[in-house]
Amino acid sequence: MLLDRRKFLNVLLGLGTFGGVVAIFYPVFSFLIPPKSAEPKVNSVKAGTASELPTNSSKIVKFGRKPVILIKTEEGQYKALSATCTHLDCIVQYKQDTKQIWCACHNGTYDLNGRNISGPPPKPLEEYEVKIIKDEIVITKLG
């Protein structure tokens, strides 16, 4: 009988200790996870005037909180692609000599349609739509 009571108290103590540990670590762990900040939903951005961007050149445009690379090809065509390398998150650049998109971090390359053609990138770059409205470049998210 005495033993049962001791067992009961031990279980109670064990549960209490476990509850106490959870009560301490749950808030601590939750505190470590950053709260999701409301991301402004951006569907399109203006990226300057078309006449100011020389052919065979590029620039990085802020699309909400993400970088987008805008390229004016030698043929005068506009291309907009996500500038975040699909390998390890670096920001890519346009190589004027090879007419390719290149990531300096791990030597990954993409063609002008965003297809990963060499190096470690596992996926293509996301494509954006480019419209020229009265000489103004407008980049829009596809879909």
């Binding site: 470590l32 996870i33 950053p34 900040s37 990085i60 802020k62 909180r65 970088p67 690379i69 500038a83 390998h87 390890l88 998150d89 670096c90 920001i91 890519v92 650049q93 990531c103 300096a104 971090c105 791990h106 030597n107 990963n116 190096g119 470690p120 990138p121 596992p122």
Partner: protein
């Protein structure tokens, strides 16, 4: 002066009985043989850690974390604060030398097989300390908030994200959000100046306690010598003085490097600029960086980087567990299998590092 010193010691002795300390200093001895020089590597690493602690505390007086203040405060330290350039250069150079000597210490212990019973835990705590040293390097690298450190952190934290299931939440916890921002800087600052020093000191104390308790390891050839041929030197003052002399030499090298090869601050990080050409991590991460660079996009059914990260993770764990892995010695082999593994590991690190700089 000596009399005052003796009086103070007597005063303490009367109250706390210093007999154990006296006994230890009198009887502790260190084996003397042709590989004795390697015994000093751990001491040098410890010395450089103390330099880091001291210069780090000094830098804390002026450094201000934050997207708009970190870079500016480091620039202020190196251009406006008296000797700020020196303190920062010493901190940066000492960090690099610390990693170098930690690696040297680890491989010397590996090749002399000093990790074997009864010193298994000294090896394990030592390996943990090395991992934390690298974490110190990685977190401290971001603090000046320059272009190089920004992209190194982007890549480094993204690598964590490729680990299945826990990777992404872990990356977000490290970054303080989805991207590398001022929130990441705040976290890395906290990790660098509070969390890591606390854990590091704990493991370092254990490591030193184990060494103190068990004494220096006798290598095989020394153990097999007849008793009368085994030479020892007293720990105090002989070994301690030699240790101190080497600390002095390393300190001079450190000051020379800090004076003649200042650490560049570079350009301020811009989250909306392309990664600059020639971007590379610190030299001690170069072999991993280069391996990831050479891996194809997909290996079998998994992504190349995940494959690389898994291989490095498993290899690191096995390396930590070396004292518990039994590999039979081959009597007909001139070089034993474990030594061959060690040579392959060193060769891999050296070759990949060199390739990283020339490719």
């Amino acid at each position: 002066m000596k009399r005052i010193g003796n009086k103070i010691i007597d005063w303490i002795d009367e109250r706390y009985d210093l007999t154990p300390v006296r006994k230890l200093l009198k009887h502790k001895k260190v084996p003397s043989h042709k590989y004795s020089a390697w015994y000093y590597m751990g001491g040098v690493t410890l010395f450089l850690f103390l330099v880091q602690l001291f210069t780090g505390i000094l830098l804390l007086l002026y450094y201000r974390p934050g997207e708009e203040s970190a870079y500016e405060s480091v620039r202020f330290i190196v251009t406006e604060v008296k000797f700020g350039w020196l303190i920062r250069n010493v901190h940066s150079w000492s960090a690099n030398l610390l990693v170098f000597f930690a690696f040297l210490h680890m491989f010397s212990v590996f090749f002399s097989k000093a990790y074997k019973k009864p010193r298994e835990l000294t090896w394990v705590t030592g390996f943990i300390i090395l991992v934390f040293t690298l974490a110190f390097g990685f977190s401290g690298y971001l603090l000046p908030w320059n272009e190089l450190s920004f992209f190194a952190t982007k890549v480094g934290t993204d690598i964590v994200g490729v680990i299945p299931i826990i990777g992404e939440p872990l990356r977000n916890i490290l970054r303080g959000g989805e991207d590398v921002t001022g929130a990441t800087l705040s976290r890395f600052f906290g990790i660098h100046v509070a969390i890591l020093p606390a854990i590091f000191t704990m493991f370092l104390s254990l490591h030193l306690l184990f060494i103190q308790r068990q004494g220096m390891h006798d290598p095989e050839h020394f153990k097999n010598l007849p008793e009368e041929k085994k030479k020892y030197i007293p720990f105090f003052p002989d070994f301690a003085l030699k240790d101190f002399l080497l600390w002095l030499v390393v300190f001079n090298i450190l000051i020379f490097l800090a004076l003649y090869f200042p650490w560049e601050l570079g350009n301020k990080a811009d989250p909306f600029a392309s990664a600059p050409k020639g971007i590379r991590p610190e030299w001690y991460f170069m072999f991993m960086f280069q391996t990831l660079k050479l891996l194809p996009a997909h290996i079998l059914f998994i992504e190349g980087e995940l494959f690389g990260v898994l291989v490095f993770g498993v290899a690191g764990f096995i390396w930590m567990m070396i004292p518990y892995i039994k590999i039979k010695n081959k009597s007909d082999w001139k070089v034993q299998p474990l030594t061959v593994i060690g040579i392959v590991v060193v060769a891999f690190i050296v070759i990949m590092t060199i390739l990283g700089y020339i490719l």
